[in-house]
Amino acid sequence: MDAAIEVADLRKTYRGRRTGEIRAVDGVSFRVERGEFFGILGPNGAGKTTTLEIVEGLRKPDSGTVRLLGRSPWPHSPELTGRLGVQLQASAFFEFLTAREQIETFAELYGATKSRAAEMLDLVGLAEHANVRCEKLSGGQQQRLSIACALVGDPELVFLDEPTAALDPQARRNLWDLMRSINAEGRTVVLTTHYMEEAEALCDRVAIMDAGKIRAVGTPAGFVRDLDAPTKVTVAAGQLSGERVRELAAGETVNADETAVVFETRDPRGLLTALASDGALEGLSVRTANLEDVFLHVTGREWRG
């Protein structure tokens, strides 16, 4: 079977009179298997949206090839677009229609039924707002409606461009559950995000993108493992003598100031047991390496997403 997405050496340069040349996508290659949950993680302006738009067939690349479900997204073919579900970064709606009319129109375009439309509206928690005009929905509600429109055609492959950007924490958690369940139904999901924890929580594999290039591709756990970074264990200052701190650090890095003591350890279990037996657990926090550290490692820059 063909891969869900196969992208080879995509390049796209925007030429503006004032801005000069911007290499938005600069030699991007990746492959997404069917059923996979794939994330593209990167800061503002990394080129995520441009990459997605090229893959979806909205933009033509300057060079490079794209295969979607085994075929080219260009020119437009109803057989292919009928199998895709797309949520664009900016929500796009028919003016003056209610949420229900909106999704029913999309349902008709995809040949889906009205009951499927109602079901999707319910799934994203908008059933109560079905009769509200789109322009009167809040930003987060619009985003959810746009996701419902992406799912209404029962797609095999779903593209979500920063779907949680405008959501409150509760709605974000709900959407995470929704995205997990649509992936569990066997759909391939491609997600872009600024949020490290989102990529870690949802994605089977993550591509880290910066300045038009993919810097690394892998599983979140694999990245962290390969990084082989120490775990940071912090306790409030004043519970341990200086001598005891040195003893517990056992030759590894430790930073102490008047408020806290921070151990960087490769044996968090041993350290925590020792701290517990000392009764020195006040102000305890344990931070293992995460994608943020991976980003720093692969780009050499601090995460500022």
């Binding site: 009928g82 895709l84 796009a92 999309f106 008709e108 995809y110």
Partner: protein, 367 residues
């Protein structure tokens, strides 16, 4: 094993294509009806102009001209009291002041054999009419004098016949012009505004990623505009006929194809404007910049025959002129469609050329 032949697949695609067309038509049509500003621009604004212009022109040419005679003006002695209301002024300054206040249409001074006419500039239409009537009066007096001097000589006389069965009341020439203008603004503003909206809200990009083709979507959008134009025409002509006494000819139904063709031409202009403008105010401004002057050089508000020659010359380039003329011919004069073939030909050619230009220059990437 599925046995989809190419035929079966094509048939299915066609069926889903027409279903997509219908659902898009429904969605866009609903949006149109709920947009109050659209209703105002397409329906109410032309009606307001009709009320306004009918009252402006309505008084001008039927009432008697108000003449100020300065001193003794012998030529006015034989004037028909239905055609002229004469008041006297002490001197020319007083007469000119009366005209400035809008109380008179022309002042007349007679100095021996010279009759000097001062038509009103404040109210130039009535002034021009008064001037024409006074000149005719002077001619009549001359004819009388000449025939008295040389009784045997025949004199040439003109007789003006009403060629179209009765004087054209203002509404008869105003209505087609205002309708043509109304069709033009809803086409130009509609298309330009829509395209700028699409640039902003990216709806077209989203629709490009559904199984419906962009062509289906554009077709649905144009269809909505065409249906709107027909509705606009029906409402306008009904109000003009019932409220303002517009006499509709038996060929009035032919206004429908004319308005449809005109709408295509104006939509094409709107697409060009929408391609250039980046914001809604810019689109509205540019649309005004095109439709306002066009209305004045097309005889929409003011008869072309009374306009300066250079205006008449420019008018040949304006699609509104041809729509106006054609509507006037079939709706008011009751001429058959064959009489307006040249206008139809021009409108069709104009629509085709502008559509081609807009298609070629349009930056689809911006949508």
């Amino acid at each position: 094993m599925s046995l989809d032949t190419a035929e079966v697949r094509a048939e299915r695609a066609e069926r889903s294509g027409s279903r997509a067309y219908l659902s898009l038509f429904k969605a866009l049509g609903r949006g149109w009806i709920r947009d109050r500003s659209q209703i105002f621009f397409t329906i109410l604004l032309p009606l307001m102009f009709m009320v306004l212009l009918a009252s402006v022109f309505g008084s001008g040419d039927t009432a008697a001209s108000r003449i100020v005679a300065v001193g003794d003006v012998a030529v006015l002695d034989g004037a028909d009291p239905d055609a002229f209301t004469v008041v006297e002024a002490f001197d020319l300054d007083e007469a000119l002041a009366m005209m400035r206040d809008g109380d008179a249409d022309a002042a007349v001074v007679q100095d021996g054999a010279t009759v000097r006419i001062y038509p009103s500039a404040t109210n130039s239409t009535s002034g021009a009419i008064a001037e024409g009537k006074l000149s005719a009066l002077v001619d009549d007096v001359n004819v009388e004098v000449l025939s008295a001097a040389a009784p045997g000589e025949p004199v040439l006389e003109t007789e003006v016949e009403e060629a179209d069965g009765g004087a054209l009341r203002p509404i008869q020439y105003l209505a087609p012009g205002i309708l043509a203008w109304g069709v033009a603004i809803s086409g130009v503003f509609g298309a330009a505004g829509t395209i700028v909206d699409w640039k902003r809200d990216k709806l077209l990009r989203r629709l490009r990623l559904t199984p419906a083709s962009v062509r289906t979507f554009l077709g649905a959008k144009v269809s909505v505009n065409l249906v709107v134009a027909v509705g606009q025409t029906a409402v306008f002509l009904a109000v003009a006929a019932l409220g303002f006494g517009l006499q509709l000819s038996a060929w009035t139904w032919f206004a429908v194809p004319l308005v449809l063709l005109g709408t295509l031409a104006f939509l094409a202009i709107g697409v060009v404007i929408g391609g250039i403008a980046q914001t809604s105010p810019a689109a509205a401004g540019l649309s005004n910049l095109v439709t306002m002057p066009m209305a004045f050089v097309s005889g929409a508000f003011y008869p072309l025959a009374l306009s300066p020659e250079w205006v008449q010359a420019i008018s040949y380039l304006s699609p509104m002129r041809y729509l106006n003329e054609a509507l006037q011919s079939v709706v008011v004069y009751g001429e058959p469609p064959s009489a307006v073939l040249p206008q139809i030909g021009f409108l069709a050619a104009f629509a085709a050329i502008v559509a081609l230009v807009s298609w070629k220059t349009f930056k689809f990437d911006e949508l």
